[in-house]
């Protein structure tokens, strides 16, 4: 399955917008006047060399890093000074470069936690009422139980493979049925078969939920397979933005990303 053939539901509704975002850490400018808009159901690959500001950009969107200047909106709601948890409630979810899970909990407890959080004080968790007659709990359990992960609710994290941990983290992010999903190198450390399976699962949920996906990934082959559009950062500056197949041929991108001598 490629991005060209995937039947992704995409509308013109804008779910994420960054305008002129600049981030400075002391004397270092990590992001310089970066703008980006993404529509519902769009799959955007965010690439660039190490130190180009990709994770900083995700941290700004999440609220973990505050921008020095610029504006940000999620699902049309201005988010400049909105806290991390409120952004999550607006429909934002993310995974981290280093999968962040909870050491004391089983797989099932992770899923239950993610299900509970959106309606902690309610009698019945709102996310439990899923689509197609199934509960979200069932869907998530089935999601992590699919091959090649084969995870069961009682599994402990200590026995999981890297791919298993990443699929649990993704399932948790999906539990709130997000509008915008940020993925920070979810494929790193996985073997080729796992990358394909993980990518297929990602495309499947994106198609079904119509979620906007922003994916940071160093493996260009995987990015091209998954993303319709590429945004390229270099030294904190956006140097390219457009259809994936075209952008990857851009000489500036090849120069920044591959050092100019990659064929």
């Amino acid at each position: 399955m490629t991005s060209a053939t995937a039947a992704v539901s995409q509308s013109t509704e804008e779910t994420l917008r960054l305008d002129g975002i600049t981030v400075r850490f002391g004397g270092l400018t990590a992001l310089s006047d970066v703008s980006l808009a993404a529509a519902a159901g769009e799959f955007v690959g965010l690439i660039g060399p190490n130190g180009s500001g990709k994770t900083t950009m995700l941290n700004v969107i999440t609220g973990l890093v505050r921008a020095s200047s610029g504006t940000l909106s999620i699902c049309s709601a201005p988010c400049g000074r909105v806290s991390v948890h409120r952004r999550a409630r607006l429909g934002l979810a993310r995974t981290f470069q280093r999968a962040m899970l909870f050491p004391e909990m089983t797989v099932g407890e992770h899923l239950a936690l993610a299900r509970d959080i959106p309606n902690l004080w309610g009698r019945r968790p709102s996310a439990a009422a899923g689509r197609g007659g199934h509960t979200a709990d069932d869907e998530l359990t089935a999601f992590v139980a699919a091959e090649p992960w084969g995870l069961r609710p009682g599994d402990r994290l200590s026995g999981l493979s890297l791919g298993g941990l990443r699929i649990v983290e993704l399932a948790m992010a999906l539990a709130s049925q997000p509008k915008v999903l940020l993925l920070d190198e979810p494929l790193s450390g996985l073997d080729q078969a796992e990358r394909i399976s993980f990518g297929d699962a990602l495309l499947d949920v994106q198609r079904r939920l119509g979620v906007t996906v922003i994916l940071i990934e160093h493996d260009v082959e995987s990015v091209l397979r998954l993303a319709q559009r590429l945004v390229v950062l270099d030294f904190g500056v956006k140097i390219a933005d457009g259809p994936a197949a075209e952008i990857i041929k851009d000489p500036r991108v090849r120069d920044a990303y591959f050092g100019g001598d990659e064929q």
Binding site: A88, R98, A99, E104
Partner: protein
Amino acid sequence: MLYIYPGIVIGALYALLGGSITLTYSLTGVINLAVGATAYATAYLFYHLVTVSKWALAPAVVLCLLAGPIFGFVIWAGVFRHIENRDLIVQLTATIGIAVALPALMEFALPTENVYQSPGIVPNGFAVLRIGSFNTTRDQLAAVIGAVVLLGGLILAVEKTRLGLSIRAVVDRPRLAAGAGINTTRLSAFSWILTGFLTGAAGILLSPLLQLDPGIYTSLSVAALSVALAGRFRSLAITTLAGLALGVLSSEITGYAPQGSVIANGLVPALPFFLLAGLLLVGRTSLKSRQDAGSGQTARADSGSLGQAVLSRLPALSVLRPGRYVIALLAGGVFTLVAMYSFNAYWTATLAAGIAFAVTFLSFTISTGYGGVLCLGQAGIAAFGAIVAGRLATEAGLGLPLSMVIAVLCAAFCGVVLGAVGTRLDQVGFALVTLAFALFCETFAFNLQALIPLQGVNYPNFQIGGLNTSQSDILLGAILFAVLAILVSWFRRSRFGRVSSAIRGNPVEAESLGVHVRAFRVGVFALGSAVAGLGGALIGIEQGNVSTSDFALLTGLVWLAVVVTIGVRSFGGALVAGLLFAIAPAAFELVTISGFGNLPTVLFGLGAIGIARDPRGFLAQMSGNLQKLIARPEPATSIGPASGAATSDPVTVGGGSSRD
């Protein structure tokens, strides 16, 4: 101006201890709350050598100056060498263990009766000299000269020597310095030895100026901490200036305030609290571990790991199943009846005290064990509960039940305020704010006679039916403990418990999932504070009278050490810790050998140190060992390949550039 010189004397010593904290933090990443204890240990040794063993001053001084570095080396080799890459909270807990154990260990090893004041390092130290327009005692002059020489030498060594260059390199970029070939382990050992020398010297210099009391020296740690914080744990020069300013300000206020007034007796000792709280809140101090220094923008995201080691790696005792609840309640009921009817008055009263402490210690289970916030001021909160309940019941005639309810609400409000302030900071900042609060209570609030009369706060006689006082106390405490334990267990198994566990394990991830981490922490801390207030009231009921000494800062640290040692993640741990805290001293009181009364404190302190090295807690370790004995081998639970990922730390996998 008249009182500047005495202020400079004490300020110079604040600066010396603050400089020690700065040096240790810069080179090892440890906030050493045990500087006061080390100073006390050396001062106590000096007192013992000179006064009890009748040594001449010179050899006693030499031996004590050697003792400081030896303390420092032993602390490094025995504790911090093994936990140098661990979380700040783990290291903080270890220093609390040392602060509790070391003074008690010295008093246990070198028992002396009625220690009030130590001689100084110069003969005839009380003799007054006239220098210019100032009068000074020989002891004061020795303290100033000693502090100036030591601080000046330290600053010169850091600025002008090759060793100092290495130190500054490690302070700026520890990983880079290690990569450049600097032996950071050796430097770490050196810093502990040097810190031991400085604090030891400060202890000897302070000994004729302060009453030789571990509580006073512990308070000194907070003053030193506040001046070190003023220097951002980096600048020895600013630390020195802050120390002098604090000393002079204290001296001036003391000098000009009316003798015996609230300002002189309360405000001055509380000045370090105001400085510490102000610096923490204005500066919003974020104390990254030394390993994180310089890691750029990832530090914020990674700060979620702060506190994980001691708080999330503590495996809990397995949650009781419903059937086991009944068994636990039945066992508790039998224990209560046995405690009420099978012992003599001495042990019945002791067990009543133990159950009151167990309820109090449940507050640690909630706040620290489940909520993931380290509170160093629980004694202050419990004291508020005790004072409010006692005064309302005795003076306002409201009756004990209503008084206790109001006391619990007051303690919860106190928790909300403290939590709202503390959660603006990171976890270490929170711990320090609560420490400052305990100091504020001890030195200021509890000195207000409008709050606590000189004779303490009395409680009405409490009896249930035909039971005597101690039996009634046991019954009341047992019922309240059982109710709280059931509620705590319900909380833990509920969705709130899962969220709490998530926050404790990984606050950044929890927040990104939509949890309002700060509000949740404030709520849990307020709940813990309410329980602490209830515990304080129970302590008051059991004792019949409470005074400030029952809830001193050091007492609160010992409480924490006991609970952490036994197990901070289960109500069983709180119960055993409470009973042990009451029973152990009572048992040692029956032993007639002088000095054995300190042994429980030594053991509790060593337990807290041990918990930093193996953070599971005694009860969990025992439980784990039992489970291993009775468990049958289980098949692997994962279908997926177990390669690559989590082996020792499943929560942080992957990697890649941190600069992206």
